[in-house]
Assembly symmetry: C2
Homo-oligomer: 258 residues x 2
């Protein structure tokens, strides 16, 4: 099976022009088939506030109303995505920017209303891996933003980590697929204050130990659960680290295995 | 040679939700290979003014500064393009939204500064017809917005009519290509006040007569010149009319021939 790398970058990398450019250069040098998935960062919040669209929170969770969805579509799908595509083209990567609506690549379902109505937020239901593979086979490099669609004409705001992992699961039917979750740290840290205290490998046994020792807490728990889900559904390897982790020089990152 | 229809729609159709939906329904029923090119409409001006980005005009011409380009990228490349794609998916058209940066489909050059510096405005230099054809052969329907790139990482604001005609010229190496310029009138009118006074055919001889008779004036002149350029460079047919002109029921439109 041919190898495929799926790289997910978060908001902080996107917000800083210099670090974005440095990352895109590393990405362009990465050999083999690859897919980029990006979040949106604070640009959307900034544009929303300038447009007078209030950030609505219920029980600490952000609500995506119609106006917020429009801002997200403008910022993630337009400004961020198309500038990344143009920059990759300058680095000789034949990039193509996508939402889940494009070629029906990622279909989702609006999150059902229970205690909270999250608004136009989608939970991924289906990845069109054959469609995405047609782009890959044509030597195009897909660049996904964190927007999907419901198949009935509605765009939906969707978590970028989940988009990366569900695309990886879908593509693992065709490729030996690895996910690289890039963020500002060097990996999962044993001691949050020591930046090189990276836990090199997490498997189901050590995960439990790290949870018990409260080394993995809060927001990291759903992230790691998401990684195990991907591994249980066909993805070969999942890594968490900084934006240079997929280069040969870097050996500081966390690998999740079953 | 297989047939290809390139449909260009302007701002007014996009601004009205009902007419956009009606048009997209007609477009989805159009048989054969097709490409949609859309302008932006007044949404960009509205968003720009809400964001405090001033519309700069020099000698009656709009200037695209950095802030205006960002708004255009958000509105044309994000909001308008991705909503059209989602709506087409709901109509069973496997649409893919593109700027000229995506798959390096339309490369342009920043307009040279002479008397006026137009800012980030691009004049089309090269269409990647093989790349676009890979999408067509995969049964995807390209939806282009009025943004191109310079190959060095810079997005550029570009006239949608020109994008449509240069893509048509590029694709005419592979397909028997027709362009349909849709606007709010039924075609080129003999009498502006009589909506059915459509000039059915314009060729180089009658064009001169219509110019002398001042039936074709002002903004229509560069549009028609653009049509003749396309015909002189391989495009088979160019039509101007309303959004239903490519349906079998409608016979009121203008056809430009050599």
């Amino acid at each position: 099976m041919e190898k495929l790398s799926i790289i997910k970058i978060g908001g902080k990398i996107i917000e800083d022009e210099t670090s974005l450019h440095a990352f895109l250069k590393l990405f362009s040098n990465l050999e083999g088939k690859k897919i980029l998935v990006h979040g949106g960062g604070k640009r959307a919040t900034y544009i929303a506030s300038k447009l007078g669209v209030e950030s609505k929170m219920i029980a600490g969770r952000r609500i995506t109303d119609k106006e917020t969805l429009d801002v997200i579509t403008m910022v993630y799908g337009g400004l961020v995505n198309k500038n990344i595509v143009a920059k990759l083209q300058a680095l000789q990567i034949n990039a193509i920017g996508l939402t889940g609506a494009d070629i029906n690549s990622v279909k989702s379902e609006r999150r059902p209303v229970k205690e909270v109505d999250f608004g136009f937020v989608g939970d991924v239901k289906q990845v069109n891996s054959n469609g995405i593979d047609k782009l890959m086979k044509a030597d195009f490099t897909p660049v996904f933003c964190a927007i999907t669609h419901d198949g009935n004409g509605q765009l939906l705001n969707t978590n970028a980590d989940t988009i990366a992992s569900t695309i990886a699961v879908g593509m693992s039917e065709i490729y030996e697929t690895s996910i690289y979750y890039c963020f500002e740290l060097n990996g999962v840290l044993r001691d949050f204050n020591v930046k090189d205290s990276v836990v090199k490998v997490i498997n189901s046994k050590t995960y439990k130990e790290l949870l018990d020792a409260k080394i993995i807490t809060d927001g990291m728990i759903p992230k790691i659960d998401n990684c195990f889900d991907a591994l249980n559904n066909g993805v070969s390897r999942v890594h968490i680290g900084n934006t240079s982790m997929f280069t040969k020089e870097n050996e500081f990152y966390t690998t999740i295995t079953l």
